[in-house]
């Protein structure tokens, strides 16, 4: 097992290196002059030339790449050309918001999706099943942006005649008037650590709508995958055998059906967890959460190379780690995988 994990970790190194080269070239192939992006409307030909020279945008690409990768190997990701803030600090500062959001969205999707899919399958052909299938189809096709906006309109702002439903906040991560303490940057955790219960509760309320908006697509997919997998397993011989042996139906469900059906579900959850990071861009914009997503978005529009490179590499690394975790989990769930 340890050897497997180490080998997989070693494999991510060439992957990340390749990605860094591609990313480096791709970003510089984007239209637009980075010096102009820095200067905006006030740019003059002289100031553009001056900034280009000072920032070294005119040096040969390979030289720029080697100086970048050289610094990177010493753990220096550079700093934002826009704000001068170190990329690592920006990442650390945006990460808690996005992590909280992604975890809540994933919890929402998993904790609701697996039971829903399971019961839909167990009551195959009933109206509950059809309803779940229909609703999950709707969940897959609805754009995150639209859903986020809709949720906000109904459950935060409140529209006639459902004014009473507008109980959630519309923007941000916490009400600044609460004056909460933030030792870690994870606001819910901060509230618990410092026993500022109201602050934790307020942070949680701020997360509800964004998490639902972001978690809806994964939820719908998880429901469908779980349902299909459970249906599949229910028809297997070993389930019939278990039934014939006279095991109680709850034991069959837990030990035989669910456990076997979980394999494809875990794969899906792993993939979705990675996708949540990209979905977060839109959700963060609508709910004014200044996490990794919104930082990435503004970095793209302003051609902030160091931020884009650093963030995308870090996200790729996280993605790789999540998938590694999923592979390890296979072994835990299914002893057959462990052997090979």
């Amino acid at each position: 097992m340890l050897r497997f994990v180490l080998r997989r970790l070693a494999l991510t190194v060439p992957v990340l290196l390749g990605l860094s080269i591609l990313l480096f070239l791709w970003l510089r192939a984007l239209p637009g002059d980075p010096a102009r992006a820095l200067l905006g409307q006030r740019a003059t030909p002289e100031s553009i030339a001056n900034v280009t020279r000072l920032y070294g945008f005119d040096e040969p690409l390979y030289e720029q790449y080697f100086s970048y990768i050289g610094a990177l190997l010493q753990g220096n990701f550079g700093s934002s050309t826009q704000t001068g803030e170190p990329v690592t600090a920006m990442f650390r500062q945006g990460f808690p918001a996005t992590f909280e959001l992604a975890v809540c969205a994933l919890l929402f999707a998993v904790l609701l999706g697996i039971p829903l899919g399971y019961y839909a399958a167990r009551r195959h052909g009933t109206p509950l099943d059809s309803l779940t299938v229909g609703a999950s189809l709707l969940g897959v096709v609805i754009p995150v942006f639209f859903l986020a906006y809709l949720l906000k309109l109904v459950f935060a702002i409140g529209i006639e005649p459902l004014d009473g439903l507008g109980v959630f906040p519309t923007a941000g991560r916490q009400n600044p008037r609460i004056g909460a303490t933030h030792p870690t940057g994870f606001y819910i955790l901060d509230g618990l650590l410092t026993r500022e219960w109201d602050a934790a509760w307020d942070a949680f309320l701020h997360l509800v709508l964004p998490a639902v908006a972001l978690g809806t697509i994964p939820l719908a997919i998880i429901v469908r995958i779980t349902r299909a997998a459970v249906l599949d397993v229910t028809g297997e011989d070993f389930v019939r055998t278990a039934e014939a042996k006279g095991l109680t139906s709850s034991t069959i469900s837990r030990r035989h059906v669910l456990r076997n059906a979980l394999l494809p579900v875990v794969t899906t959850v792993g993939l979705q967890a990675g996708l949540l990071l990209s979905g977060a861009v839109l959700t963060e914009t609508v709910f004014a959460i200044n996490g990794l997503g919104s930082k990435l978005f503004s970095a793209i529009t302003l051609l902030d190379y160091p931020v884009l490179q650093g963030f995308i590499l870090a996200i790729a690394l996280m993605y790789a780690l999540i998938n590694l975790t999923v592979d390890v989990l296979y072994g835990v769930i299914d002893p057959r995988v462990r052997v090979s």
Partner: protein
């Protein structure tokens, strides 16, 4: 077996949660303690004023900034030698009670207030003034980059180790409360320029302690110093409390402020980049006010009982006509386009209510505004005959406009484009729309290449200086306009070099007349920028140049 394992896990989790809870200290008591103290000593009304900004400040040191969001925060903490008369762009005493320029326009003596201290307790005096001027002049390396020190670069045009060294010569502390700045060339806008937040007075002691100019300078790795990120120290009514990047800046009143004490206990500037999200946060009571209200939101906000405050417009929205396009080189075609545009209709279709029609490239409040420039009234028939005369009845033109941007002078460029396009088509001009993302693509194309026809652009003035409008647009040949008019360029260079305002004003009036005869573009409007506030907010004084300090703001709960 299974059950016992899950019970064990639950127990472990519970124990962990218990262990975690209370393992970090809440610093809440301190915060509220500070607040009540402020209330006691100053008789303040108290409460927190929460304002939503569209972006984070770039840094907390205004000397390194040229953007409105950095300045918004800086105005609360810092003050310059010169301020502005409330509600206007005219200079007014601030840290200097009076000033006198020499006849040759080469030196200015400022008399300083004697009752001012910086937030770190250090006195504000002539030495502090000179320390600030010398600091700017002696910047090296990356600090000379225009994206960092834009204003010093563009107004003083050089540094101690550059050639030329620019127009700053020296600063002398004549007495404790009198400082003289000497220039190498006359600069009539000097006093006005001192009202820019970029030239705020900062505590020399704090700048030294926190290494203000240590922008660690490898080329692709600019970082601001500890001073600029955590210890900004000025003389303003508010002092710095905390900055949570990407989230909010928190300021508290400075108890020893020389002027009117702040009335609220705390100011929070939250970053909410999306315009809709700002509006909704206000509607939901999460913030007390925000800037850059979309024109389409104004009436619904007003109906719901929110206050809308308009800034006197200090900007210009224009339609540029690129003379690198052969047809547009013909003055008759340019005149035809000017006559084809119904500015009132453009305003009612795409700009906020109260926006004024523009007759020239500067707003009326800027000196040098001429009442008698040539105007081009809306007259589609005239436009058609002018086009026929120029042999351009069958004219096809590229029309460039930006997307994904909202500027005070151009809140909804797409809608403005639609309005003008239909007017041009009404006189028989075929329009080929070309849309680009604002920065850098659109700006790159318009300001850096000849590849455009008609385009929408504008400008918001930084301070009351005509050159800040006309010089920026027409100071020299540029790909934006595609013409080479030595007479105009010469007149602008000459006007800029005149030593006093009184001499400049008639020169700029002449230039405005000349520009409107030459007609490089069509000035469309001076759009009114709007702010929105909750009903409880009082005492917010708007300013055309955004010199808005919040010490008079109250929020009744």
């Amino acid at each position: 077996m299974h059950r016992s394992r899950s019970i064990r896990a639950a127990a472990l989790l519970g124990a962990a949660a218990l262990a975690l809870a209370g393992c970090a200290d809440s610093d809440r008591e301190d915060a509220s303690g500070g607040g009540t103290e402020g209330e006691g000593s100053s008789g303040a009304e108290g409460g927190t004023f929460v304002f939503a900004a569209s972006a984070d400040p770039v840094s907390l040191d205004p000397a390194f900034a040229s953007d409105g969001e950095t300045f918004r925060v800086a105005r609360q903490m810092f003050e310059g030698l010169v301020g502005t008369e409330p509600g206007t762009a005219d200079p007014a005493p601030l840290l200097a009670t009076e000033w006198e320029g020499s006849d040759d326009g080469l030196s200015y003596t400022f008399t300083l207030r004697d009752d001012v201290t910086f937030h770190d307790g250090e006195p504000f005096n002539a030495e502090a003034v000179c320390a600030n001027f010398d600091r700017w002049y002696n910047w090296t390396g990356l600090l000379q980059s225009e994206n960092i020190s834009y204003y010093y670069n563009s107004l003083f045009r050089g540094f101690a180790d550059t050639d030329p060294q620019g127009i700053y010569e020296s600063c002398t502390a004549d007495e404790e409360t009198s400082a003289t700045i000497t220039l190498t060339q006359p600069f009539a806008g000097f006093v006005q320029a001192m009202s820019l937040p970029a030239f705020s007075m900062q505590s020399p002691a704090a700048m030294e302690q926190y290494d203000a100019d240590n922008v660690s300078g490898t080329e692709d790795d600019v970082r601001f110093s500890e001073y600029a990120t955590a210890h900004p120290t000025g003389t303003g009514p508010f002092q710095f409390e905390s900055w949570e990047r990407g989230q909010q800046v928190t300021l508290v009143p400075y108890e020893e402020y020389w002027g009117d004490q702040a009335k609220v206990d705390e100011v929070v500037v939250r970053t909410i980049s999306d315009g809709n999200a700002r509006r909704q946060a206000l509607q939901n009571g999460e913030i007390d006010g925000y800037d850059l209200v979309a024109p389409g939101d104004i009436s619904s906000l007003e109906d719901a009982g929110f206050q809308i405050e308009n800034r006197p417009p200090f900007n210009i929205l224009y339609l540029g006509m690129n003379q690198a396009v052969p047809e547009l080189k013909d003055i008759r075609v340019r005149q035809a386009i000017a006559h084809a545009i119904d500015k009132d209709a453009v305003i009612s279709q795409s700009l906020p209510e109260g926006s004024e029609v523009a007759t020239q490239f500067i707003p009326e409040t800027v000196s040098g505004y001429a009442d008698d420039v040539t105007t081009y009234d809306y007259d589609p028939e005239r436009a058609k005959s002018l086009l026929a005369e120029a042999g351009a009845s069958d004219l096809t033109l590229q029309f460039n406009y930006p997307t994904g941007v909202s500027r005070p002078y151009m809140p909804t460029p797409e809608e403005t484009f639609v309005a003008i396009r239909s007017q041009l088509e009404a006189v028989g001009i075929t329009v080929t729309p070309v849309a680009d993302q604002w920065n850098p693509n659109y700006l790159d194309k318009i300001q850096g290449t000849p590849d455009h026809g008609l385009h929408l652009l504008g400008w918001t003035g930084d301070y009351n200086d005509t050159d800040n409008f006309l010089g920026v647009f027409f100071g020299k040949a540029s790909p934006e306009w595609g013409f080479d008019n030595a007479e105009l360029f010469g007149a602008l260079t000459e006007a800029r070099g005149l030593p006093t305002r009184d001499e400049q004003t008639p020169a700029y009036e002449d230039i405005n007349r000349e520009v409107m005869d030459f007609l490089p573009g069509v000035p469309i409007a001076h759009p009114v920028p709007s702010l929105a506030f909750a009903p409880e907010v009082e005492g917010f004084q708007t300013s055309p140049v955004q010199d808005e300090v919040w010490n008079a703001v109250t929020v009744s709960e």
